[in-house]
């Protein structure tokens, strides 16, 4: 599973194209082992999917990468710098699994508050807020208090907040839970657009197999261990399967 580190030179400057490097990370809560020796590398402009059942450790891994939890063993590096690092957080847009929103405030106020935590000019901020809101189709609802939002609207607002400061890396924990199929499709189209046009790196967790199909690389997580990773097509070929779901089940059997 050891991946060769590709380097890109531009104008004589070394650009490390591996943006997220997870090096042998383990984590326990009390006596429960949540993560076991996880290694993974995510390249610039990739959509990297973490797939696995709930309780498999996806969220913990994501939190370690963002730096809001610390590993017992191993390191996480982003742009070659060890996390947590305050400057690097500037380049990361994080969407938590639970909607972390201020219910007393309106959608706009939530966006404006989080945007103002990053260095940004007023005019740029307004543009970014408008862009992020439009992306998740919330423009018409921004004046409403979040307490009046539906579950799906809160999810979309959380996604907009993750995008509002134009980060290089997006880390999205179950972004499409509770969102209707049509909007889910439009969000995925937008993620593809962000990846293709703006070379954003996107780490996404999901337990929906058809979303995993859309990722460049899929990593299967089970019981805190990364059991298989690769592009969806490679994985299917390796197992002679038509669907990722079969791969997941077979790989799971191998592990146990």
């Amino acid at each position: 599973m050891e991946v060769h580190k590709p380097f890109i030179f531009r104008n004589g400057v070394l650009l490390v194209s591996i943006e997220i490097d997870v090096k042998g990370v383990s984590k326990s809560y009390g006596k429960t082992k949540v993560l076991r020796d996880i290694h993974l590398q995510i390249q610039r402009g990739q959509i990297y999917g973490l797939i696995g059942p709930s309780g498999s450790g996806k969220t913990t891994l994501v939190k370690l990468i963002v730096g809001i939890d610390s590993a017992d063993e191993g390191d996480v590096e982003v742009f070659g710098i060890k996390m947590p690092n305050l400057d690097l957080l500037q380049d990361i847009g994080y969407m938590a699994q639970s909607d972390a929103l201020y219910l007393e405030l309106t959608g706009y106020e939530n966006l404006a508050f989080f945007a103002s935590l990053y260095p940004m000019k007023k005019t740029e901020m307004k543009k970014r807020i408008a862009y992020a809101a439009e992306l998740v189709k919330l423009t018409g609802e921004l004046k409403k208090k979040v307490s009046a939002y539906s579950g799906g609207m809160k999810r979309r607002l959380s996604l907009a907040i993750a995008l509002v400061h134009d980060p290089k890396i997006l880390i999205l924990d179950e972004p499409t839970v509770g969102i209707d199929p049509e909007l889910r499709l439009s969000i995925w189209n937008e993620l593809m657009h962000l990846k293709n046009e703006h070379q954003k790196t996107i780490l996404i967790t999901t337990h929906v197999m058809d979303e995993a199909e859309k990722c460049d690389i899929v990593a299967m997580v089970r019981n805190g261990a990364l059991i298989k990773n690769g592009s969806p097509d490679d994985l299917k070929a390796a197992y002679g399967a038509n669907q990722l779901e079969e791969v997941f089940l077979q790989a799971g059997r191998e592990q146990s």
């Binding site: 972390a100 219910l103 935590l117």
Partner: protein, 342 residues
């Protein structure tokens, strides 16, 4: 910049939560007013017995809304049997006032009225003022409970409400996941603590000014010293409450658990606030008192409001409060490490 954004957000949230605002600003006033009426009974209902007293003096007393009852025998027994609040007799030129004193405020009110009547009669008649000897059936003369209690109460209510509301404010940030979300932004831990202190501090300042002004202007609590010193002391106490509330909220996982800190952290402090004489306590108990912020605040407040002490006299108490606040603030910054190491 980030601190400013946070402060703005905290203020907005507070302003939208009208009930919490009402609790912060008006609940202390209601409780203080109730206490005031409980401890300061209405002196106008006082009824005293009169035996062998100058008629002019009696007339003056009647003008002052005191019910007069003429009695034969002049001793304590008469007072109790006739259900009087006091009894005034003239024993060979020396006036003697027996006070029931089952309610210190009533007794004091009678004493004041009789004294004033005596002064007026003296001014009219001239000559030596007759001496007034006072006897108490229950207790003694130096009990005016609310006057002693009110500086302590003002401090206590400021502490209590600021503690609760700031603690629950930060707790909400934790339980809703927004604190973790904030930690995924480049915000520094001290920035968060500073913003919480400033945002909630603003409301604490408003509350302190309202409570102190209400007590002094409306409830007419004794204030010998400067009102600014009272406000200053209360502001420092509010800062202690604010930093302690946010600190303890990191050890609570729900609003209910935050409320559980009240009997453990808040109530015991009342015992060391000087409502009960601290000097009479066992030495180890006095030692505990020294680690209670309210002990110092109450000492300073009583000093200013009751004894009329100046800033220099209460500077040690104020310094102690500053140290408490500083320690709690630093601990707050460390407590946030739970969410992000950096």
């Amino acid at each position: 910049m980030r601190v400013q954004a946070l402060i703005k957000r905290i203020i907005k949230q507070m302003l939208r939560d009208k009930r919490t605002l009402a609790l912060l600003f008006f609940a202390p006033l209601i409780v203080l007013t109730l206490m005031y009426f409980f401890f300061n009974g209405n002196g106008n209902e006082a009824e005293i017995g009169i035996a062998d007293v100058d008629k002019r003096l009696v007339a003056l007393l009647e003008e002052r809304d005191i019910h007069i009852e003429y009695v034969e025998a002049a001793d304590s027994q008469t007072v109790i049997e006739a259900e009087l609040d006091g009894l005034l007799t003239d024993e060979n030129g020396a006036l003697k006032l027996i006070l029931l004193n089952d309610d210190p405020s009533v007794a004091r009110s009678i004493l004041v009225q009789v004294n004033q009547a005596l002064l007026m009669q003296n001014a009219a008649v001239g000559g030596d003022a007759p001496t007034l000897e006072t006897d108490y059936i229950y207790g003694s003369g130096d009990t005016e409970f609310f006057d002693v209690l009110s500086p302590v109460l003002i401090g206590f209510f400021v502490f209590f409400f600021v503690f609760l509301i700031s603690g629950i404010g930060l707790l909400k940030e934790r339980t809703s996941g927004t604190l973790e979300r904030l930690m995924a932004t480049p915000i520094r831990r001290w920035e968060l603590v500073a913003a919480y202190l400033a945002g909630f501090g603003l409301f604490a300042v408003i509350q302190t000014v309202i409570v102190v002004s209400f007590s002094v202007v409306v409830l007419d609590v004794v204030l010998v010293g400067s009102i600014w010193h009272v406000i200053l002391t209360n502001l420092l106490l509010a800062l202690v409450a604010l930093s302690l509330g946010t600190l303890l909220s990191s050890f609570a996982s729900s609003e209910f658990q935050m409320v559980q800190f009240i009997p453990i952290i808040v109530i015991p402090q009342i015992f060391f606030a000087g409502i009960f004489p601290v000097e009479g306590m066992a030495e180890w108990l006095q030692g505990i008192g020294r680690i209670m912020p309210i002990y110092y605040a109450a000492d300073a407040l009583k000093g200013v409001m009751y004894k009329g002490l100046g800033l220099a006299d209460i500077s040690r108490d104020l310094l102690a409060l500053c140290i408490f606040a500083l320690v709690f603030i630093v601990l707050n910054v460390f407590a946030l490490k739970k969410h992000r190491k950096l």
